[in-house]
Subunit: 71 residues, 2 copies
DNA sequence: TAGTAGTGGGGTAATTGGGGGT
DNA sequence: CATGTCCCAATTACCCCACTAC
């Protein structure tokens, strides 16, 4: 099966998206990224983007490893 | 502009919201979540969020299945 | 190029969680 | 057994302004 997960197909979410899904403030999502609880991808301007797959896993209550200390 | 286009996007309520709707204290709502009477979704910080659809059903007097033993 | 909305950073007030007792 | 209240620690929400994204 050698099915490769194309990184180019990885959908990214904005802080507002994640904040809406968790019913929290966008600032709180930023804190989670700073705390290393979620994977944060930074734009060239300094803004954060989050992986849709990871956020969905978090909402499902699944512990997600992959976010160590990036921010 | 962070436009969500997911039919599976569930609306969540804060403990204060549910407490106000039921005319009880937020602590009591927490008890219900611990007892598995209502579905509880936790934020990454440990705070609980509740499904709006389920709370509405409960307020309507409908028996809701889906909360077994989560907390 | 300009305009609007979203985001980041810092700081402060309010809410929440947990245990314990009524 | 279920609910309301007190304690403290942690988390979250809202205020400002400057910059980025589209």
């Amino acid at each position: 099966m050698a099915t490769i997960n194309s990184p180019e197909t990885e959908q990214l979410l904005t802080p507002a998206e994640v904040a809406t899904m968790f019913r929290v403030d966008p600032k709180t999502v930023t804190r989670w990224a700073q705390a290393g609880k979620i994977t944060s991808i930074r734009t060239l301007g300094g803004h954060r983007r989050y992986r849709a797959a990871e956020i969905k896993a978090l909402l499902a209550g699944l512990p997600v490893d992959g976010a160590r200390s990036q921010d």
